[in-house]
Symmetry: C3
Subunit: 207 residues, 3 copies
Amino acid sequence: MTLTGGLDLAAVFVFALTGALTASRAQLDIVGFIFIACLTAVGGGTLRDLVLGRTPVFWIAAPEFIYLAAFAALVVFFTAHLLESRYRAILWLDACALAVAVPAGVGVAAHLGQPAPVLVMMGVATGCFGGLMRDVVCNEVPLVLKQGELYVTAAFAGASAAAIAIWQGLTPDIALLICAAVTLALRAGSMAFGWRLPVYKSRPPRS
Amino acid sequence: MTLTGGLDLAAVFVFALTGALTASRAQLDIVGFIFIACLTAVGGGTLRDLVLGRTPVFWIAAPEFIYLAAFAALVVFFTAHLLESRYRAILWLDACALAVAVPAGVGVAAHLGQPAPVLVMMGVATGCFGGLMRDVVCNEVPLVLKQGELYVTAAFAGASAAAIAIWQGLTPDIALLICAAVTLALRAGSMAFGWRLPVYKSRPPRS
Amino acid sequence: MTLTGGLDLAAVFVFALTGALTASRAQLDIVGFIFIACLTAVGGGTLRDLVLGRTPVFWIAAPEFIYLAAFAALVVFFTAHLLESRYRAILWLDACALAVAVPAGVGVAAHLGQPAPVLVMMGVATGCFGGLMRDVVCNEVPLVLKQGELYVTAAFAGASAAAIAIWQGLTPDIALLICAAVTLALRAGSMAFGWRLPVYKSRPPRS
């Protein structure tokens, strides 16, 4: 199995866990858990494949991805009550999923021989859109929009690091590992230590 | 006309009715009715065609689908005031639309020679995504998420029944009729008699 | 550069401005501004390209579109505090973006030799979906749904005017200019003078 294939599997599994936990907050039944888990797990990669013209998309060609997401949903359905805070679990698992999905997106684009800006865009899109669909459908405030946290920024920095590494002649596998490390470090650092970029603040009240 | 073609037409028409009724709850004008009706009517089938790589999608190849959805929107615009409860009408029409859209999705995938898991996924996606887009855009609580009702479950059971029937050697047409019957029975039974699966309930308050 | 290419550029830039202004209302950081600006700027055109089967989509083939959207986001990040009302700026910029995006959608479809109904649908989809995604993701009431304003109607009238003009034998460039003028006139007239179509009103309270 290639590194990109392994990253895709890991991203699907961990995003599916976050989707199922979000389904538990909405008190859905077991099939609802599987539905939201699959949506979250394959949403970003589906967008990536569609805009790049790689059809049928990855989970049609290999339904194992769907089985894996469904398995993750079952695990959550029977164990989520053991968690102290499902919301904190969602946050941290989502950070891990982001850190594998961004390099998965970059890896697919690099494999197709796309130029550096497309690598960055596919990394950000693959990383951010699964969670965005999960939050929009389940009516939660999208993590992407949480004020004063590095989320899109972490994805962007990780994908950019990979593009620079590939441009500098490092092997793709090393570039993808750098990408995962940068993304996870920034996202986790933002949650644990409050790292952030300045946000836009207008002087007068919101208008 | 093939059975799949007929199911596609029926799904477009009935989903368009639900979309227009939702537009009436948002007090849109006539073009707004047509817009939401079209979005609901072709949303699920568009996703199905995109992920399977069938482009241009079905309503580009045959604009009659759009005319049909627009006609449904006109019918609702001029008659919705006769309904006692538009919300109940949406619920029941949506159940009928689900029961024709799921087999339409399965039928297209079967026609392309896809394996059983893809048949099930395309049935669920075609059935559920049109209504999901309607509800997200119009800011209604998605029917997919309504606690303790069989919705995705009905679609999943119907699509699975069709996949099993095809695997057992039944003709595709009979498999699709079984699919429609199972989906409608479960969804209608859930609304009328309260059939449901156990939902996830955590002991402590939502966290 | 062709007229359609110029319209695509203009639509990307002006929609990106509206996206960044919406990001400022959500108090995001600079990368968040760029993310929402890009989503708004290329959302409609991406949908158009996907359903027509033009992949890779336009901004993969030409990343300049993304640079332009990012530049617009930077401009807004550093100047939005000078605006008296960001909401009014969003409304008027969105009207301008609509008036260039609708002909851009029609122009691409006409270039592919699509029939008149497809021209109209691609005009409406390209014009309306970028702003719709922006509003759904940022949890604003979609402009598409604002009661008693011409929005989809303006897009529909403009696209229809272009289709009629092409059918009457006018050159595509003139047809696209007519399209832009009709769309802008109706949308701006609706905002400035209250032009509207009758909206659906039920006698009894909303049910």
